[in-house]
Symmetry: C2
């Protein structure tokens, strides 16, 4: 089989007219697909519905320590839910704060408080001329939005299959005291689905930052989000490694049940050292009267422990897995060997990362939109929304039905081919 | 009847030994009472338990507009809950954002975003040499903590029965461009239970601030928290007055169902002009994936409208009212005419404000603690926790049972008398 690059102008033009006809056919169908966000499908959410029956008006809405969840009190999470989230993260309940429904808010708050008040007593970032964050990319657009919002300079760090380029990370962190943080999605990374290797995790734990207020923002969003029961990535537990390296305060870890129970009504957590959590709690006493404890109780009683959470995830993955396999199968079938795209084959998480030929991502996303499908904006996976190679596209297969997913992938493949041909013909002119 | 001031040294000493004996008797009982916060009593929370049955696993968890509450999406509140909260505040749904369980977090965020990014495009407060807030006092300690946290200078404004001293407010706001806000609890104020008069509200709406980014932080925490069905204070609706005065952007109004449904698991709201809410939402898109929509749906379906909320409040007030009446009756019976204390007689809200003789509040609170009862720290009702006259004490009658309340008030009265006598004897030395 020839790659597109090996084809003659005439061959490319023939392909184009065939593909254009197929594209017009799809466009005529008037599709309305949205693959822009990593949203759970309704069927996934259905599997968590028993959660709604855990508590009712006959329930005693008290924590195991006897606190009335309906009333004020307890700022950092009820005991049983701290245990649940600690279990999920393989850490200790005393190292966890459990909050409301969005871990993004916890991340925002961590940065916001650092900007206004500094980290554990260091100079507030708003008093500094320059604050920088390292941003492994492609990465999660919401992370980048938070740092961009606070005017923090973002430095792109290339991602590899083993995690961020650690030579570069170590260099920046060690040499530049204005580097205050790094955004990480260490397991089933967004969007590539890569899991940091043991060596990467150890090198993170061993970092010797120039800045005392440097922290790793370890967004373990997909910690138990495996697609298969019999094959899954394993991530080293970061705090254990930090302890070994003598750096107990280096990491803020974040997680939530957004993709376990309900994306719109789950619970979130931040895990860290006693010193870091004291800092967090000091702010929280000013900021809030505490999280929704009734919803925490609901989650704690329903899931009980990590096994309960994992059992729920297996129900979820049974629904997502076929969609991943469908997309990956079609990509392989239709694009393999053509030289116009590479993609990842994750065994967990919510995304597939697709790298088109350089300079093609925006045009592919636009073409898909023309055909009736919204994708995550090209560039969104890079700081400032600018992918220097205009190549990366995030595919989020979870939300559409299997039938829609088939249509969507067909359209996507068509658009990749068409845009690549245009690009090659342009280049040949 | 003689006032304490009119008594001879001998009379005071006689009183003291009688009162000391009574105090020791109570102390021996080993009371453990907590009147430090305005917490709903368990019986109040019980009245809201039907809320727990509104949704179950058979429910269709969709908004009236068809959005799945279990999933991501909708940042500013589902339509039916915006209507509910707007109804409660006598304003329009489009002027309301409904959030999670704590209006305090919304207030914190409003200030925090102003500090880091400025108000609707004005200079971020962190870039200014001086930012000041007016603080009507006695007031709500949590308000003062927020401004203190951000290093904002707090200026005490004396409270009157009609609200803050408006001559002073107008002067500061008009003349000092570093004055950026004022904390208000306009109805059944915390702790005095005063409701701002129509004139006060109109003068607020008519303020002509020197600072374009001055806002009124209108914490309408007790908007429908009447103790009686047949007598209640009426507060003029502030936005209507602002419109009339041509100042649509002057006010952020806050409210929650913390003291209507569950203190730990309710919903909160901020109401304001389209311009101010656009500013708020711009931040929220970075900060959060949205509030817990399932709990919003639960509240919207259960309460339906203002009538539903008011019906719930009547169940609540039936439980709180006897406690207020007990305290007020005992204070009148035991302290009226003695010249050692004045107190307010609110018909709503959560507090009674007590003014002891100057220089006695701290000693009374300490004496109560000795006797087994925790009160809100003396001074907490003033900026920086310092009551210049050391006179104001906040009484929170909602949480203890009626029997406990009787014990508590007996102890409180004893302590007021004892400390006052000590003070008078000291002065006479």
């Amino acid at each position: 089989m020839k790659t597109f690059q090996e084809m003659s102008r005439q061959e490319l033009e023939e392909q184009r007219s065939k593909l254009t006809a197929a594209f017009e056919e799809i466009r005529a169908e008037g599709l309305k697909l949205d693959m822009s966000r990593g949203k759970p499908a309704p069927e996934q959410l259905d599997t968590a519905m028993p959660l709604m029956d855990v508590l009712n008006s006959e329930s005693v809405l008290q924590t195991e320590s006897g606190v009335d969840c309906r009333n004020y009190g307890i700022m950092d999470g009820i005991p049983e839910v701290k245990r649940l989230m600690a279990d999920m993260l393989d850490t200790k309940p005393e190292n966890v704060i459990v909050d409301g429904n969005a871990s993004l808010s916890l991340m925002f708050d961590a940065v916001s408080h650092s900007v206004t008040h500094g980290v554990c007593g260091s100079t507030p970032w708003c008093k500094l001329d320059k604050v920088k964050f390292l941003c492994p990319a492609p990465g999660y657009d919401r992370h980048f939005k938070v740092t961009e919002y606070f005017g923090i300079e973002m430095i792109t760090i290339p991602m590899t299959e083993n995690g961020p380029d650690m030579d570069l990370v170590e260099k920046y962190v060690k040499e530049d005291a204005s580097v205050k943080g790094i955004w990480c999605v260490p397991k089933y990374s967004n969007p590539q689905g890569y899991t940091y290797s043991d060596e990467t995790v150890r090198r993170f734990a061993a970092l010797e930052p120039a800045a005392e207020d440097f922290r790793i923002y370890w967004d373990n969003a997909y910690c138990i989000h495996d697609l298969y029961e019999d094959k899954s990535d394993e991530l080293l537990e970061i705090f254990t490694e930090c302890e070994k390296a003598g750096h107990p305060d280096l990491v803020f870890e974040f997680a939530s049940t957004s993709k376990i129970s309900f994306a719109g009504a789950g619970i979130s957590a931040v895990a860290s050292s006693a010193r870091n959590l004291d800092w967090f709690k000091k702010v929280m006493t000013v900021q809030t009267i505490g999280p929704d404890k009734v919803n925490q109780l609901r989650h704690a009683r329903y899931f009980k422990n990590k096994e309960g959470l994992k059992a729920q995830m297996m129900k979820n993955s049974a629904l997502i897995r076929p969609k991943f396999e469908l997309v990956l199968g079609m990509l392989k079938e239709e694009l393999d060997g053509l030289g116009i795209g590479r993609w990842t084959n994750p065994v967990g998480g919510y995304f597939i990362s697709f790298d088109a030929m350089e300079g093609c991502a925006k045009a592919i996303v636009a073409k898909c939109k023309e055909g009736g499908m919204v994708l995550t904006g090209a560039g969104a996976t890079y700081p400032y929304g600018v992918d220097p190679k205009d190549s990366n596209i995030r595919i989020a297969p979870s939300y559409p039905s299997l039938a829609e997913m088939k249509e969507a992938t067909k359209l996507f493949i068509l658009c990749v081919k068409l845009v690549s041909i245009e690009k090659l013909l342009e280049g040949a002119e």
